[in-house]
């Protein structure tokens, strides 16, 4: 297997998989974000991680953007935690690109607004717009990076278990776990429909083909809907009464609590220190 060593990690896993299994089902859409590593972050109970992530985001969001030193501290701390979780920085930043459509308007904010203006290079900017925009971009990025660390170090399945434990309504957890289970089935179905289309010489080149694609999407929706009904029947046949089985949960040790709460706690320390220095 030495030739595998020269391949990038995800490719390696794919090859290893196909060797064990003789059939092909495509990769798991639901677990695409998870990166398997052995780290203290990976091994922590998922509900603790969710709590820590939310607490950290709350601290970051409630820090005034004018306290810019604190945000430098936050970013360094996030990168340290990513390093502890053995998440490559390139992966971290690549995944962070997902926020671009969301912060697009924040970037425009300095150009439109009212009040005091100032000139920065070729641009004539509004001060308030700049501050508000920067706040959204910086805080948004911190939130996204935190979410990426969580989703990269925890399987989607585990995150759901964590949310269930945190008393998210059972119905929402059930809907999400069914999505996780069936996204692969639906994806395979979509793939087969595409192959069937292509086999009859279809090539989506422009606007005029949208009708075909829309019809296909409609067919996929109907099929998924009908599958949902069949799944429900099969659940009823096995005595389903609205509750999915869940594991008996063990209480986490105080040490894991302390460790995981370090994540928001360090942020608080950064916030207090920078505020004191600022004054």
């Amino acid at each position: 297997m030495s030739f595998l060593r020269s391949l990038p990690e995800n490719r390696k896993r794919k090859i290893a998989n196909t060797q064990v299994q003789t059939h092909h089902h495509g990769h798991d859409v639901g677990e695409r974000l998870y990166l398997h590593r052995h780290s203290i972050v990976h091994e922590t109970a998922s509900y603790l991680k969710v709590i820590a992530a939310i607490a950290f985001i709350l601290v970051a969001v409630s820090t005034p953007i004018t306290n810019w030193q604190a945000f430098i501290g936050y970013f360094i701390w996030v990168l340290v935690v990513a390093a502890i979780a053995k998440i490559p920085f390139t992966l971290l930043f690549k995944r962070a690109l997902i926020e671009i459509p969301f912060i697009f308007f924040a970037i425009l904010m300095p150009f439109f607004g009212s009040g005091e203006r100032f000139v920065a290079g070729p641009f004539n900017l509004y001060r308030e717009g700049l501050i508000a925009g920067a706040g959204i971009v910086v805080k948004g990025t911190l939130g996204v990076l935190t979410a990426i660390i969580l989703s990269t170090s925890t399987t989607a399945r585990e995150i759901l278990r964590g949310l269930e434990r945190l008393r998210l309504p059972a119905l929402m957890v059930q809907i999400a776990s069914f999505m996780l289970r069936y996204i692969n089935v639906v994806n395979d179905e979509m793939e087969r429909m595409k192959v069937a289309r292509d086999s009859r010489g279809f090539e989506a080149t422009g606007l005029k083909h949208w009708r075909v694609l829309a019809t296909a999407a409609g067919a996929l929706f109907i099929r998924s809907y009908e599958r949902g009904e069949r799944v429900h029947l099969s659940m009823l046949s096995r005595g389903y009464e609205g509750v999915l089985p869940h594991d008996e949960v063990e209480k986490s040790k105080a040490s894991s609590w302390i460790m995981v709460l370090m994540y928001p706690f360090v942020a608080v320390v950064i916030l207090i220190t920078t505020t004191l220095i600022g004054n």
């Binding site: 299994q21 003789t22 059939h23 089902h25 798991d28 399945r157 776990s177 069914f178 996780l180 289970r181 069936y182 692969n184 089935v185 599958r227 069949r230 799944v231 029947l233 099969s234 659940m235 009823l236 046949s237 096995r238 005595g239 389903y240 009464e241 509750v243 999915l244 089985p245 008996e248």
Partner: protein, 247 residues
């Protein structure tokens, strides 16, 4: 004589759109029997199966499982009925909805109130019966079709049903998986109803066969007698594969 596992009397059913599917079905199956339910597409086979555990409420006639009346309004009794009738659906992806094989098999017994070690033992036993023990922690998506079908059988076996109902068990299976499943089914000591178009499979596994056509049972005999009656098969759009003959 002991109480039959399944007793259907004068069962009739029409869908809400007025399309009548069953016109007075009578069928009695004794404990330990393996019966093939044959019939062309649209004969009402699936509708009949859906009556066996009260998914379709009985509108007219009666269905009894081990003597107990299937009554969709009686929630307590329905719960018992559903643990007694194990239906294996045609598409295993409809049946396997939990994240892992083990959790899926635990679903039925969990709903029946089993917990802890008892639940664990039921899951392991069911996995052993279908030879899938080493796949317990795998997601169903990673299994082959034949393996998924076997797990689907295990999900209902874990409920210790009185009667096992299989909808097209051999469909989409490659020859080896088909034979493996036959071996598993033959090894089970359980009353079985097998809905199928696969006549050789019915012949291999079931000593008795009934033909459902146009919403009524038109034939009820030994599988051998039915499959050698060419006129009867032809009248009901059933055909043995070319080159296949029963001695």
């Amino acid at each position: 004589m002991t109480t039959p596992s399944l007793e259907i009397k004068e069962l009739a059913f029409a869908y809400p759109d007025g399309n009548q599917a069953l016109f007075g079905v009578n069928l009695s199956i004794n404990k330990g029997e393996r019966v093939a339910l044959l019939g062309p597409n649209g004969a009402g086979k699936t509708t009949l199966v859906m009556h066996m555990n009260g998914i379709h409420p009985t509108a007219q006639g009666s269905v009894r499982i081990a003597g107990e009346l299937v009554d969709a309004k009686n929630k307590e009794s329905l719960k018992r009925i559903r643990s007694k009738v194990g239906i294996v659906f045609q598409d295993p992806d409809d049946q396997l909805f939990m994240p892992t094989v083990g959790e899926d098999i635990a679903f039925g017994p969990y709903n029946m109130g089993k917990r802890g070690d008892e639940l664990e033992a039921l899951v392991n036993e069911a996995l052993e019966l279908v030879g899938m023990v080493e796949f317990k922690d795998r997601p169903p998506h990673h299994l082959s079709f034949g393996q998924r079908r076997r797990v689907a059988v295990a999900t209902v076996l874990a409920m210790k049903p009185e009667i096992l109902v299989l909808d097209e068990p051999s469909s989409n299976l490659d020859p080896a998986s088909r034979r493996e499943l036959a071996d598993i089914l033959r090894s089970l000591d359980i009353t079985m109803v097998m809905v199928t178009h696969d006549l050789p499979y019915a012949n291999e596994l079931c000593e008795r066969a009934v033909i459902l056509n146009g919403g009524v049972i038109v034939a009820d005999d030994s599988t051998r007698n039915i499959l050698t009656n060419k006129a009867l098969l032809a009248a009901n759009r059933l055909e043995l594969p070319v080159g296949f003959s029963i001695q």
